[in-house]
C-alpha cells in the first residue's frame, strides 16, 4: 500500500513564506510542493516542483473526483519522480504548457477552468505521454486502499466473516 504523503514538519506560514506562486491550488517552493493549507507536502527528487504540480493537476483533470483530496492524486503520480522517468515527464508537461500558451494562458496550471484544461488534454489524448499518465492512474489512483472508503467500497471482507451477518441483503428501498 502506498504510504500517505505527510507534511514535512512545516507550518503553514513557513510553507507560504518559502513558496513561489505556481497557480492552481498548490504551493510550490524549492524542491517541494504542498497544499496551501499545509494538509500535505511532498519533496520532489527528480522533477521540478512546478512540473509535479502540473502533473498532479493533470491527474485530477483526467479523473476528477471532487471528494478526493489532492494527496491521493499526489500518491498516484509520485512514482514518476525518479531519474528514469523525469525526462519524459518534463517533456510531456512542457507540451501541456506550450498548448496552454498557444491558447493564450501563462501555463497549464494558470488556467482557471477545468473545461479549458480538459480541452488541452482532449487534443493530446492519443499522445503516448497522456496515455502513460491516464493508464497509470487506473491503478495508481483507484487501487489505493485509502481512497476506497471515499467511494463507499469496503474492500476485503473475509477477516470480518463475510457479509452473511453484515448486510449482504440489507437493501431497504426497493
Amino acid at each position: 500500500m502506498p504510504e500517505k504523503v505527510r507534511p514535512k514538519g512545516l507550518t503553514r506560514r513557513q510553507l507560504l513564506s518559502r513558496s513561489t506562486a505556481a497557480g492552481g491550488s498548490f504551493v510550490v517552493g524549492a524542491g517541494f510542493l504542498a497544499a496551501p493549507n499545509g494538509a500535505w507536502a511532498m519533496e520532489t527528487a527528480a522533477l521540478k516542483p512546478e512540473t509535479m504540480a502540473a502533473l498532479v493537476q493533470m491527474a485530477r483533470d483526467i479523473y476528477p473526483h471532487d471528494q478526493v483530496g489532492d494527496e491521493y492524486y499526489v500518491i498516484a503520480v509520485k512514482g514518476y519522480d525518479t531519474a528514469d522517468a523525469a525526462e519524459g515527464i518534463e517533456a510531456g508537461i512542457a507540451k501541456l504548457n506550450a498548448a496552454a500558451q498557444a491558447a493564450g494562458h501563462d501555463s497549464y496550471l494558470s488556467m482557471g477552468w477545468e473545461r479549458d484544461r480538459v480541452d488541452i488534454l482532449r487534443a493530446m489524448e492519443d499522445d503516448p505521454f497522456f496515455q502513460q499518465i491516464r493508464g497509470g492512474l487506473v491503478t495508481g489512483l483507484y487501487n489505493q486502499k485509502a481512497v476506497w472508503p471515499i467511494f463507499g467500497y469496503e474492500g476485503a471482507s473475509f477477516e470480518q466473516g463475510g457479509y452473511i451477518d453484515r448486510g449482504f441483503n440489507d437493501i431497504n428501498w426497493l
Binding site: 491516464r134 487501487n143 469496503e154 463475510g162 448486510g167 449482504f168 426497493l174
Partner: protein, 523 residues
C-alpha cells in the same frame, strides 16, 4: 499419498493443465485406478492463500505470459496483450470462476440444424446430444454441488440480486432466481457454506465454491494414482513414426527441459494454450501441427457474446456484498429469431470492486462523464450478459512467431471479429438489461463493453466428420488415437450458458471412455 511416477514410465496418462477439464479428468481417471501425471504451468494456491483484493489476486493467479491480439473486437484495442482473463494455477480458471453451472438447452447441441444457414458462421451440430449428456450432467452437478439441482437449495439473494429481481419481475420476466451455482448453500456437505464474502472471482477463501484446485486434485492425489507437477509448462507433444504420441517435453520449475513418457496424452490448457501446444508440436510428419490434418486447430474461436450493464440509483445498493454472480434471468436464452438474431443469452448479476470497475467500466474513458459514474459506485447494480456467439473460421488462434514467451516458444495470437449476429444479440441484451434497471428507477445506465474473455471455446472443435473439426465425440483427436482434448476447446458451438458444467460433464464422460478403452487394450 501422492504417487511419484518416473519420467520414463510410459504407462501413464499425461494430462496437460488442471482446470475444469484437466483437473476433473485427472481425478476421475485416478479414481478408476489409472496412473496419471498432471502437468500444470501454474503453482498451487489453496483457499488460505487467496487474497480479497482484485489486483493482488490477479497478480497471484492470472495467466500473464505474453499473448497478442488482432481483429475488430474492442479487447484488441483496450487490452492488446490480455485477450483473456484466465488463470495459471493448479485448478486453472476454476479458481477464479463465479460458479454459474447451467446445462445446455436441448436445441443448442444441434445449432446448425436449429439455426439453419447463418452467413459467415461455421455452425455445426455436436456429435452428441442432450439425452447422451443427461447422466453426465447429473454426475457433474453432484460433483460441483450445484444449487437448485438434486436436493441442494438455492442461495439467498444479495442486494445486487434483489434489485435485479425486482426489475426483472416488473418487466414481466418469469424465470429469475438466484441461479444454479457450484457454491454450497447449506452446511450439510463436505465444503463450507457460502459466507457471502464477495470476491468469488479472487478465489473462495472459505472453499464454499467448487474449484478443481482444492476439490478434485487432492481427491485424485489421495487415491495414490495421481501425481500433479506444478510449475511444469508443456512445450511440445512428441510422437513416434507410427504417428502415435509417446510423451511430452516440459519446462520444470527451474526452467529445465524434461521429458515425460506417456501412453496417452490429454490436452486441457484452455482454448488458447491447447491449440498453441498442438501447433507448436509440428513435426516433419505433421507439418501443420499435431492433429491438424483438417486445418481446424485454432479456428472457430468463440468467446460468447458478452457485455455488461451497470446502473446507478439514487440510493445505495452495495452490490459487492455477497456472491459475485448472485442470480439469473433465463427468459432471453431461448432461440427466437424474431428478435433479429439466432440463439439466446442469459442475464446474470455481476459485481466488480472499485479497482476493477475503474479498469473495466469503459476502458480508456476519462473525464467527468466517467468519474461521476464511479462517484456513484455505492449506488450501482450490475449484470453480465452472456450468449451464444457464432463460430467463424477466421476467428482464430495462430502462432505469432515474432513474439516468444519466457521459454522461447512462439506465443498465441488471438484474432476475433464480431459476427453480425453477435452484435445484434449484444444490442438486444443491452436494451433489455437497461430496461431491467430502468424498471427499478435507475438514474443512469451503462452498456459496458466486453472484458477480456473469460469463456474461451472451440479452437479444437468436436465433429462427426474428421474434415470439420479436430476431435471426435469422445474428445479423441481424429488424427492421433492416443491424443485427447479435454477442455473447453472441444466445444463445437458455445450455447448461451456458461461453459464449465459442460466442460466438467465432458471430462467425466471422457475419463470413463479412456479407462474403458485402456482396459480393453484399445489404446
Amino acid at each position: 499419498m501422492t504417487a511419484p511416477f518416473d519420467l520414463s514410465d510410459d504407462s501413464v496418462v499425461v494430462v496437460i493443465g488442471t482446470g475444469a477439464g484437466g483437473g476433473v479428468l485427472a481425478n476421475e481417471l485416478a479414481q478408476k485406478g489409472v496412473s496419471v501425471v498432471a502437468l500444470e504451468a501454474g503453482g498451487r494456491h489453496l483457499p488460505e492463500d487467496f487474497i480479497n483484493d482484485e489486483w493482488d489476486s490477479f497478480g497471484q493467479l492470472a495467466w500473464t505470459d505474453p499473448r497478442t491480439t488482432s481483429g475488430d473486437w474492442r479487447v484488441a484495442r483496450d487490452f492488446s496483450g490480455l485477450p483473456a482473463w484466465i488463470v495459471k494455477s493448479v485448478g486453472g480458471t476454476t479458481q477464479h470462476w463465479a460458479g454459474a453451472s447451467l446445462r445446455f438447452q436441448e436445441h443448442e447441441w444441434k445449432a446448425a440444424t436449429t439455426y439453419g444457414n447463418v452467413e459467415g458462421a461455421t455452425l455445426l451440430d455436436w456429435p452428441i446430444d442432450a439425452a447422451e449428456m443427461d447422466p453426465w450432467y447429473t454426475l457433474a452437478e453432484d460433483k460441483l454441488g450445484v444449487t437448485r439441482t438434486g436436493d441442494r437449495p438455492g442461495l439467498p439473494g444479495n442486494n445486487n440480486y434483489l434489485v435485479f429481481e425486482k426489475g426483472a419481475k416488473a418487466l414481466g420476466y418469469r424465470d429469475v432466481h438466484t441461479g444454479r451455482m457450484a457454491i454450497n448453500s447449506d452446511d450439510k456437505r463436505d465444503r463450507l457454506m457460502c459466507q457471502q464474502t464477495g470476491f468469488c472471482f479472487q478465489g473462495c477463501k472459505w472453499g464454499a465454491k467448487w474449484s478443481a484446485g482444492y476439490v478434485d486434485v487432492p481427491a485424485g492425489e489421495a487415491t495414490g494414482n495421481l501425481e500433479v507437477r506444478p510449475h511444469s509448462h508443456v512445450a511440445r507433444i512428441l510422437h513416434n513414426e507410427a504417428g502415435k504420441v509417446t510423451g511430452v517435453e516440459y519446462f520444470d520449475a527451474d526452467g529445465n527441459l524434461q521429458m515425460q513418457k506417456a501412453r496417452i496424452v490429454c490436452v486441457a490448457g484452455n482454448s488458447f494454450e491447447s491449440p498453441r501446444l498442438l501447433l507448436n508440436s509440428a513435426s516433419s510428419m505433421f507439418p501443420n501441427g499435431l492433429a491438424n490434418s483438417s486445418d481446424q486447430v485454432g479456428r472457430n474461436y468463440m468467446r460468447h457474446m458478452t457485455g455488461s450493464v451497470y446502473a446507478v440509483f439514487d440510493k445505495p445498493v452495495k452490490m459487492w456484498r455477497g456472491t459475485t454472480m448472485a442470480g439469473i434471468i433465463t427468459d432471453e436464452a431461448r432461440h427466437d429469431p424474431s428478435r433479429g438474431f439466432v440463439g439466446g443469452y442469459e442475464m446474470e448479476t455481476l459485481s466488480l470492486g472499485l479497482p476493477f470497475m475503474a479498469a473495466f467500466l469503459d476502458p480508456g474513458a476519462w473525464g467527468r462523464e466517467f468519474t461521476t459514474a464511479l462517484d456513484a459506485y455505492e449506488n450501482m447494480a450490475g449484470m453480465w450478459l452472456v450468449g451464444e456467439d457464432m463460430p467463424q473460421a477466421t476467428n482464430r488462434v495462430t502462432l505469432n512467431t515474432d513474439v516468444e514467451d519466457q521459454h522461447g516458444l512462439p506465443v498465441a495470437n488471438v484474432h476475433f471479429d464480431d459476427h453480425p449476429n453477435d452484435i445484434a444479440m449484444r444490442n438486444h441484451a443491452y436494451q433489455q438489461g437497461v430496461a431491467v434497471y430502468d424498471a427499478v428507477g435507475a438514474t443512469r445506465t451503462f452498456p459496458t463493453p466486453p472484458y477480456p474473455s473469460t469463456h474461451n471455446l472451440g479452437t479444437n472443435r468436436m465433429s462427426e466428420n474428421p474434415e470439420d473439426g479436430v476431435v471426435n465425440k469422445w474428445g479423441q483427436t481424429h488424427d492421433v488415437e492416443n491424443l485427447f482434448v479435454s477442455d473447453g476447446s472441444q466445444f463445437t458451438t458455445g450455447a448461451a450458458e456458461n461453459p464449465t458444467l459442460t466442460i466438467v460433464a465432458l471430462a467425466i464422460r471422457q475419463a470413463d471412455h479412456i479407462a474403458r478403452e485402456m482396459g480393453a487394450g484399445n489404446i
